[in-house]
Symmetry: C2
Subunit: 407 residues, 2 copies
């Protein structure tokens, strides 16, 4: 696998654009479009929040259609809990995009992110769509990546390439993160953050295989990050696969599937880290590695309990190697743990082993906690399963940003 | 029921004391003792964290003994994850207290709160116990309440009186809260925060009935508060009932049980509110009332999801009536909700009703969010069950306090 420059438009057949249509007070870009010149096979995962933005059920229905060609996304307004008018607005946006793109209405996905409960300025959006379509090109990937952001400081994109039987297959993606990040999206039609990620590939893929690969890759990456533990109403990851690489259609879970899966893992890991490092107020990236778990669910539960702990995250912000808080969150996760075989290490320093706290120079621990990237390993001592999870610190800036989000 | 002044020593037969024995760097009081002149029936609930301080299994074993007479508690050190030596220290403390009090070792409970993973300065504690016992009296209840605090600014005590067949029955309690508060203690031997609460009563009570009343009262009060969502390794509520009121022993769940239960509810509600208002960095008290839930579990889950939301709590701090965050946390709780019958109100202002956001003057909402005590009501629109839950805001001060707890 080869890392490539650029993002979504580095994939043959894909064009994109982003512009300011009038939603954001900051006058930053707030309307994005991704378009494939060829019909695509599509797959997606969505938030399992029981209250969702109107675009979520809309997209689930679109996924059942045969092919897709475009994704249109507004930022600055989540169009969530906006009643019947909100549902209507989602349809109107898809209609306007399909008309301007001269494609079928079934081929358009819609995304949104921003404040919940406010009515979209629909006329501004509809009026801007022809201009958005007119500006589509292969060099506006970054512009598109910028137009899906909310409180993010930086656009997020990633791309890579694999070779299957001599055919070069490219993957490109854009994402947004920053806040309300605790994704738990599963098997096509399920779980949680607002994180958005849109992926393009020129692979020829069977629809079910593509969906399976997406689920598995999301479970091992996006679903293991958290910023604030708040699950959004608008999370989604969508992938469009246009087949222009002319490879033999990838179907089932053989060697070629594994290459595709690894490519998605690579992209999603890269984007997950970009999200955490650019999270609201974040100054540090924490990687938690839980080993020795009875089963995978326990491993993930313990890892996510640590990354979700307010006290662990504030200690991280203060560079305080207060490992008791890590232990407390492991114990409260409900995962099976044997205290007599429990091991906790901060970086390479073991602080708890075989039921006993270890004598470690606090100064050295403190120094390792001053790094920008910190890793914690916890062995639960009861089995062989493991999981990683990622988060950032909880800073005074996070509180400042989120206590005045709308004011 | 009559509210009374004072706390634990306002109950006939109970004496207390608190002093500084040398654990806290601040030189504040860090060793507390509660003593009953008559043998007591005892009941308790404990954290269900799977990693607990050594005093938790110790107290569970003590609860199986016939009677109890004393509770000794140190603050500043949780004596948790301190290995075999920590277990030994708990026994030594109980032994020393029983010796100085001239009571049986089986009659002593031990509590601890503070930093996890540090070895107790046991000699300092043991050396101070005779002085602690010597100073026991009925006017040192507040001194005792002070000695169990950690980051709390204020001591917490509450007392009330009921009359059963002409006998005056008094209840008095002390508590500590402040941080790592997300209790989930159940049926004698179960669940989560560090909150400590010690209750005294002169009622004559059957042990099983006392345990049942304690469980039920804790479920409806302490287990519905959260400060930071972090469940402690040391939470406990203990009640000692010395029978000096000479009432007919209360047994089963009749009218008299109800009076006792209401008295405990009253104390625990009072102490819960004191804890939230004195929580680390807190500037506001939020009361969430979830109604229209399919079942009680859903009602509690939705209410606790709102009070645990970092984004709701930062919005509260910023007086930003961002109700979309409330909706998002309701949806992510997993509780059944019908969006078309969902109602959300901030104070008396309905912001979402029958599937549609309501037009409300933002200025008025903002004003109501500037109050020190704020209430939110959410009707899930699917049933008849309801639950309350309480929390405080998440402030920049909370982050400051917890990023430098040990440094």
């Amino acid at each position: 696998m080869k890392h490539c420059r650029g993002g979504i438009t580095s994939v043959p057949g894909f064009e994109a654009n982003g512009l300011y249509c009038g939603i954001k007070k900051s006058r930053k870009k707030d309307l994005a479009l991704i378009y494939s010149s060829a019909p695509c096979v599509a797959a997606g995962v969505f938030t399992d929040n029981r209250l969702t933005a109107s675009c979520i059920p809309f997209n689930k229905a679109q996924l059942r259609k045969r092919t897709a060609r475009a994704i249109i996304v507004n930022s600055g307004n989540a169009n969530c809990l906006t009643g019947k008018i909100g549902v209507k607005h989602t349809s109107l946006i898809a209609q306007a995009a399909s008309k301007a793109l001269k494609i079928h209405q079934d081929q358009v996905f819609v995304g949104a992110t921003g404040v919940i409960g406010e009515i979209l300025p629909i006329q501004k959006i509809l009026k801007s769509i022809p201009r958005l379509v007119h500006g589509l090109n292969r060099s506006s990937g970054l512009s598109c990546a910028n137009a899906i952001l909310t409180t993010d400081r930086l656009p997020k994109e990633s791309a890579c390439e694999i070779v299957i039987r001599g055919k070069k297959i490219r993957f490109g993606a854009i994402a947004k993160g920053a806040g309300m990040i605790h994704p738990h999206m599963t098997n096509g039609f399920s779980r949680h953050a607002t994180m958005l990620c849109y992926v393009a590939t020129n692979a020829a893929m069977d629809k079910k295989t593509l969906q399976y690969a997406l689920n598995e890759a999301v479970q091992n990456t996006f679903n293991l990050i958290t910023v604030d533990g708040d699950k959004s109403t608008n999370d989604m990851v969508l992938i469009l696969s246009n087949g222009l690489a002319k490879n033999l259609e990838i179907k089932g879970r053989g060697k070629e599937y594994k290459l595709v899966f690894d490519a998605l893992l690579y992209l999603f890991n890269d984007l997950s880290h970009q999200m955490i490092l650019d999270a609201e107020g974040a100054t540090k990236l924490l990687t938690v590695h839980v080993t020795g778990a009875r089963n995978l669910e326990d491993a993930r539960r313990a890892a996510r309990s640590i990354t979700s702990s307010t006290l662990v995250k504030t200690a991280l912000f203060g560079s305080d190697p207060n490992w008791g808080r890590i232990a407390a969150s492991v114990g409260s996760s409900g995962a099976s743990v044997n205290v007599n075989r429990l091991m906790i290490s901060l970086g390479s320093q073991k602080v708890f082993l075989n039921g006993e706290p270890q004598r470690v120079a606090l100064k050295r621990l403190h120094q390792s906690f001053c790094q920008k990237q910190i890793s914690i390993t916890v062995d639960l001592g009861v089995g062989r399963q493991s999981s990683k999870a990622w988060t950032c610190d909880l800073s005074t800036d996070y509180v400042r940003i989120n206590s005045s989000y709308r004011t």
